[in-house]
Symmetry: C2
Subunit: 319 residues, 2 copies
């Protein structure tokens, strides 16, 4: 029995595609998957191609964070982002409702991953996304967060709105990961740093920017567009935050000097950027600690070093 | 005038394709490029698709390291590697010879980047490549190095054969990068670590394995194969070395627990792996220092921390 069949024997995805994309499924190719999801390309008899991800467990909120995040980035009309058509639970003939634990799916535009524009364009496009007028009224009102919580890697990422950026980053990012880590020594070190976060933002005006939120090299790619190759960004952990927080994963993004030139030509670099980037990196190091710490040693071992460096900076006085 | 035209007005690449791949060029699409190279897909009227990279300066040794490295990995028949058909200088009607500074090109199989097999398969396939009988007689005789020097990122990587792995890694990897860095304090720290490298290898038998040499997430990808999605590896800095040295870039490779299970199911993990991986990581940190240190601060700042940790290990006694 196919995973996408409902208990009643219908195929939720094919049904949805037929009803809303106006075509019957001609071909379905497996594109592999991760431990909790599998991906397919559907070709319809009307020539449309769709990219579909399935999760075999969990409810339809599984893809909610991804869907709303992709949609928000898509709406900025800056970098290329696959258009999301639908997400829902698998085990319902209507593809709606909230039956728990039966699996879920997301249907989006299929991108053709070919070509590679200049790195300068990626930087400039990302900066334009960061400068785009927020689509969410909370963000327009100057608040930080997102309409829904989502995940970073596999870790829950809380996005409840807050007025102050340093407070948001302290509470929903650093302290959240430290609580998950549950390591007394790390927590003691981290809390002392967290208590003085404001000092990293002295003289800096932070406005809510739409962030991809997990921008490493695995999540951007060249795709073919109508006018030649374009940069697309995928698999985000979107929220509205300080634009510099986007660079917490840039130790693994392969951004060239050209990228930075492009980015800073649109959004100039501010004093203290390097020190704040250490803070933002720390969030992702702590996340790696929480994701991988138990099973094998890796990058996460650097978290204490970064905390130490941050506290040293506080003592010596920031730039 | 097209970049691929010779001074005499012929098109070296089209001529070569016509003569050796038996087809005329139907379409040529630009796939973008880096600061020193540009990439194209050529479609021939006999249905063949080729991937071509051009460099507008330098001689034909430009792509020699890449070509011989890809070929050596291809010959192991393990992971998917694009087949290299030809490389040569641009400015010669024969596509041969060694005219300096006129640019060069490489022609290889075009891979269709779609799909994603399991991470377990990537790990197992990589381990099989590491265990493959070396194609080079020096490596079969137990020596470390490669037939030609190549580059890592943009940095020269010397590969002259040596009998002893610790000596090779000290001389051609660590001390080489320290010399390029030309930082007195870093060199003093690093040299003291380098002097005692042997101790990291006590009780470990190191055999020459064919290494990709620059295995981060940007250099492996799912591609479509005859029997479904396969893993391909690209853009290598190949040499024969200790198989664990392959993981010097794995802080930016996105390898999941499943990857490691796959790898170690074929090539079991040995005691001291984590400490040696720090050493191998250090090589790449130093390289990032040399590539980016001047223009902006980044990951390279971690090099001193890793050296420090290595020397601490030496003092405390290795595991
Ligand atoms: N819109 C799309 N069109 C075509 N391929 C896609 C699309 N989105 C993702 N992919 C491919 O599927 C792979 C997995 O997608 P990703 O969103 O990263 O999944 P996961 O959440 O399982 O990590 C990507 O590496 C990419 O190759
Ligand atoms: N054999 C191939 N077939 C199709 N596309 C390829 C092939 N090799 C590389 N590419 C594409 O071209 C891009 C650049 O290739 P790469 O070898 O990494 O170039 P560079 O040396 O300029 O970094 C890759 O990211 C990939 O998308």
């Amino acid at each position: 029995r196919s995973m996408t069949k409902t208990r009643a024997g219908g195929d939720v995805i094919a049904d949805w595609l037929h009803e809303h994309m106006g075509g019957a499924v001609l071909r379905k190719s497996s594109l592999g998957g991760s431990s909790w999801s599998s991906a397919y390309r559907y070709e319809l008899d009307n020539g449309k191609h769709l990219f579909v991800k399935l999760a075999t467990s969990g409810d339809d909120t599984m893809f909610q964070g991804e869907a709303l995040g992709l949609q928000a980035m898509y709406d900025t009309k800056t970098l290329r982002v696959p258009k999301v058509y639908h997400f829902g639970p698998l085990d319902s003939p209507q593809g709606g409702g909230t039956l728990r634990g039966s699996g879920s799916f997301i249907i989006m535009e299929n991108l053709d991953m070919q070509g590679r524009p200049s790195m300068h364009e990626l930087g400039a496009g990302l900066a334009r996304m960061h400068l785009a007028e927020p689509g969410d009224e909370n963000a327009r009102a100057g608040r930080f967060g997102f309409a829904v919580d989502n995940t970073i890697g596999g870790t829950p990422q809380p996005n409840g709105w807050m007025d102050d950026w340093a407070a948001f980053f302290r509470e929903r990012r650093l302290l959240h990961q430290l609580r998950l880590a549950g390591d007394a020594a790390l927590t003691r070190m981290g809390e002392r740093l967290a208590a003085h976060l404001d000092r990293f933002f002295e003289g800096v005006q932070v406005k809510p920017s739409l962030l991809h939120g997990d921008l490493w090299s695995g999540n951007y790619t060249g795709v073919s567009g109508v006018q030649g190759p374009e940069w697309a960004i995928l698999d985000p952990a979107v929220y509205y935050g300080h634009h510099e927080a986007e660079f917490g994963m840039s130790w693994c993004a392969g951004f060239s000097g050209d990228f930075w030139k492009g980015y800073h030509s649109v959004l100039p670099k501010e004093p203290g950027f390097d020190e704040r980037r250490d803070l933002y990196t720390l969030y992702h190091y702590l996340n790696h600690y929480n994701l991988f710490g138990g099973s094998y040693r890796g990058q996460w071992r650097l978290a204490p070093a970064v905390i130490f460096k941050g506290r040293l900076l506080l003592k010596q006085g920031l730039p």
